[in-house]
Symmetry: C2
């Protein structure tokens, strides 16, 4: 899945740090990339690949992820889902 998170003005770096911390050991997570949107100083692109929907849902219960959500949410201005996807080819 691909989404664009807009941080509150000036808080992108702090939000990225929180997102980065929470992405360590997440069972079933095949890829989780946090990237700066070069066209928008407040925007973050998050692209995720999970083995199953269930693995993704379960990750939201992990203590580290729950903690990141609690700490990150106050820094978030908006979340724009760009696509839910099924990877079919390519290299990671």
């Amino acid at each position: 899945m691909v989404g664009r998170i807009r941080a509150l003005p000036g808080r992108r770096a702090a939000l990225i740090a929180i997102l980065a911390e929470g992405t360590g050991a997440m069972p079933g997570c095949l890829s989780y990339v946090v990237a700066e949107d070069l066209a928008d100083p407040d925007a973050i692109l998050v692209t995720e690949i999970w083995r199953t929907r269930e693995a993704h849902a379960a990750s939201l219960q992990l203590p580290a992820v729950r903690d990141a959500i609690v700490r990150g949410r106050p820094l978030i201005a908006s979340f724009e889902p760009l696509a839910e996807t099924r990877p079919v080819a390519g290299v990671r």
Copy 2:
């Protein structure tokens, strides 16, 4: 970078096959994922991570990539760039 390619109606699978063939050995390519957009039967999400802009530009001259562009272009209805990004954290 993240982009959404819309294939002509019914031609997504053929376009994905062409995109998949062209993504083998591309120097400087850290990640290249081709995915079906689950909300649009004609749409393909391509997410790419390159070591440098120059590496990406050079890839467009590779014979396999040039061939894929020539064969794929007739199947493309539109290309929507979603973001140009700088990956800063995460796992791949």
